[in-house]
Amino acid sequence: MSTTTVEDDAVADGHWHGSAHERKGFFTDTSICIGCKACEVACKEWNNNPQDGTFELLGSSYDNTGSLGANTWRHVAFIEQDSDRIEAARESGRKLVNLGMPTIRPRSNESAGAKPLGGALGAAESGSNGAGASGGGLPSTPPMGIDLLAPGALNPSDPEDIAKLDTTPPDTADFRWLMSSDVCKHCTHAGCLDVCPTGALFRTEFDTVVVQNDVCNGCGTCVAGCPFGVIERRDDGTINTPTDRDDRKAADMDVPNKNTANKCTLCYDRLVEGDTPACAQTCPTESIKFGDHDDMVDKAHTRVADLHAKGMTEARLYGANPNDGVGGTGSVFLILDEPEVYGLPPDPRVPTKDLPQMYAKAGMAALGMVAAAGLAFLGSRR
């Protein structure tokens, strides 16, 4: 049930195995993201990730983080668009709908009926569920004041009040601001995991992809293996942003897991305790939803249909198709323009898919070299 993978060759099996848990994942609905970056902060705080960059302004709207990297596991993108771009996005979205792609997972009528407003209402519901599940046994928090990441700490006191609010974004025809919180995709066929030569990267019981930093030797192959540019080796606690300068240095700080690969763990340490990942728990608009992957995909399909019904044809899903180049992503997104506008690849493909063919070529090449050497000796007999 949790494995929504399509049958594929053995080389790209993605290390799937039966697991006791449902596959977990995110649904990031960027249409209700307000760009507060609480997810970035919560992620940094919980995971004790070092500073990125030198707090300089990057000249990219309100995004001064840059991109995902070894120290940034949630990254909020800001895009400012004029009416032409809005119309173009609406048009490209309309074309996507008209392509008539098969609905991969037919929406079950009962879930759609129970949560007619998949987005905000469904989110509020999951919030109250989260409170019910973890409210009973609060783990002891360290004595450092209010721990905003403690389970249940940020749940609205009465979710029903929020649910009744109309959270539909106003349709501003002349100008819009796209905001999107990007994260590791936890791919069904994860390139990083496939190419890792030490077994440091593994698939967890929640079917997420996590690095064991005590095993990783920092070879960097996973960095090249990721089609989304997510995973990175933590070299000096800074990433490379477009404003690279010679004088930029990270402040002195304690850098854990230095020189090993680092990326989002989907808060593995919180999941094993039955908690919600820090970013999802802190997100004030519940743009970031967390739950069973199947539910997340269902919510995504419901939400995009709702937005289309409201005329927002620019809305589209990213990663909800198990037949795409990475077998679908564990982190599903609803975006409002082409993926590359957000810095996402338009047609990512797990490199391992090409590997059988490349091995075949390498084999042919090896045989050719043997033949060449043999001929060289035959050709120069004395």
Partner: protein, 344 residues
């Protein structure tokens, strides 16, 4: 029908990340090929009774393996954990496979090098009764290292190809391994020409010539199979300069090699008898210089390809344009069910 060809990006920022691979990895690509090719020449030299070529290629192979392995370890973020590579054997990871290939190659190559050093020092290695055992392993070790030799030269094409780095991935799909084994043949042939006597390096010259022709042809075919945005980094900027330099050195070295081969055949009898030191010296010089040029060409090819890939991650154009093109191409063929972006 091509639609929406306009290229957009997120503030021009990179989409995929370059691996933290520097000159060490490029050096290893070169040395791995050199080691593999040298091992094949060494095996042939053993069976065709060419002691000078045999000694030179065996010592080249072990030196290249040692330095290449050290370069690989040095490039790790945590070099002290290099043995973690041996925790697993993973077919889906060319890096894992390569570790085992290099290790397997190193065993036989190491034994052969020990034998040669023992011989060169007049059987003075303190081996005692083990000397006989060591020397008994000469042929098995030569066969064993030769078995791993060509995989060692070829797998690096899959190593670079099996990445999301646009230029490497496209190159890997279009025969980067062919280019790399050709380059390995050029490197091994050239190095042997520079190190071993002219009358014994006939096979090295022929191997180098075949490799040079192979590299020119396969590089051209590889580029033709790639999207223009994936080829650009191989032709522009510093990586492009390196690859152009490699091409020039390859042509010059190949011409010199052909001249040396003709000379060696014309003066074959004289060389055997040791007559005409001027002829010998001239041939030796031509051989050494063109051999060095060929080895340099191989090194430039490896550095150029590695750096071109890293360059291709910096501009999102190299990622978006080919991906858009293949997506539109599939849609034009009526395949609409495999896009990561869906409207429903």
């Amino acid at each position: 029908m091509v639609e929406d060809v306009e290229f957009s990006s997120y503030y021009g920022r990179a989409i995929v990340k370059a691996p933290p691979w520097g000159d060490e990895i490029a050096l290893y690509l070169f040395l791995g090929g050199l080691a593999g090719g040298s091992s094949l020449l060494g095996l042939g030299a053993q069976f065709s009774d060419r002691p000078g070529l045999r000694i030179a290629t065996r010592l080249t192979a072990i030196t290249a393996t040692g330095v290449g392995g050290a370069a690989l370890v040095a490039d790790l973020g945590r070099p002290e954990r290099f043995l973690n590579m041996m925790r697993v054997f993973k077919v889906s990871s060319p890096m894992s496979l390569g570790t085992w290939i290099l290790s397997g190659f190193g065993v036989g190559s190491g034994v052969l090098a020990a034998i040669e050093v023992d011989r060169l020092t007049g059987l003075r290695l303190p081996l005692g009764p083990l000397r006989r055992v060591l020397h008994a392993f000469e042929t098995p070790a030569a066969l064993e290292s030769a078995l791993f030799a060509t995989p060692l030269a070829a797998y690096t094409g899959a190593l670079l190809g099996d990445t999301a780095v646009p230029t490497w991935n496209a190159a890997g799909r279009n025969g980067l391994s062919y280019v790399f084994v050709s380059s390995a043949a050029v490197a091994a042939g050239g190095t042997a020409m520079a190190l071993a006597p002219v009358r014994e390096t006939g096979p090295a010259r022929l191997l180098a010539l075949v490799g040079a022709a192979g590299e020119a042809i396969t590089m051209d075919r590889m580029k033709k199979g790639m999207h223009p945005a994936e080829v650009d980094p191989l032709e522009e900027g510093e990586p492009g300069h390196k690859l152009h330099r490699a091409e020039k050195l390859l042509i010059a070295g190949a011409i010199g090699t052909a001249a040396a081969e003709v000379g060696a055949r014309v003066f074959a009898k004289k060389l055997g008898k040791g007559a005409g030191w001027k002829t010998r010296a001239a041939l030796r010089t031509v051989s050494a210089v063109s051999g060095a040029a060929l080895a340099a060409a191989s090194a430039y090819t490896r550095f150029g390809v590695l750096e071109a890939g890293i360059e291709s991650t910096k501009d999102p154009r190299h990622v978006v344009e080919p991906q858009r093109a293949r997506l539109e191409e599939r849609r034009a063929r009526g395949i609409t069910g495999d896009s990561i972006t869906t409207g429903v």
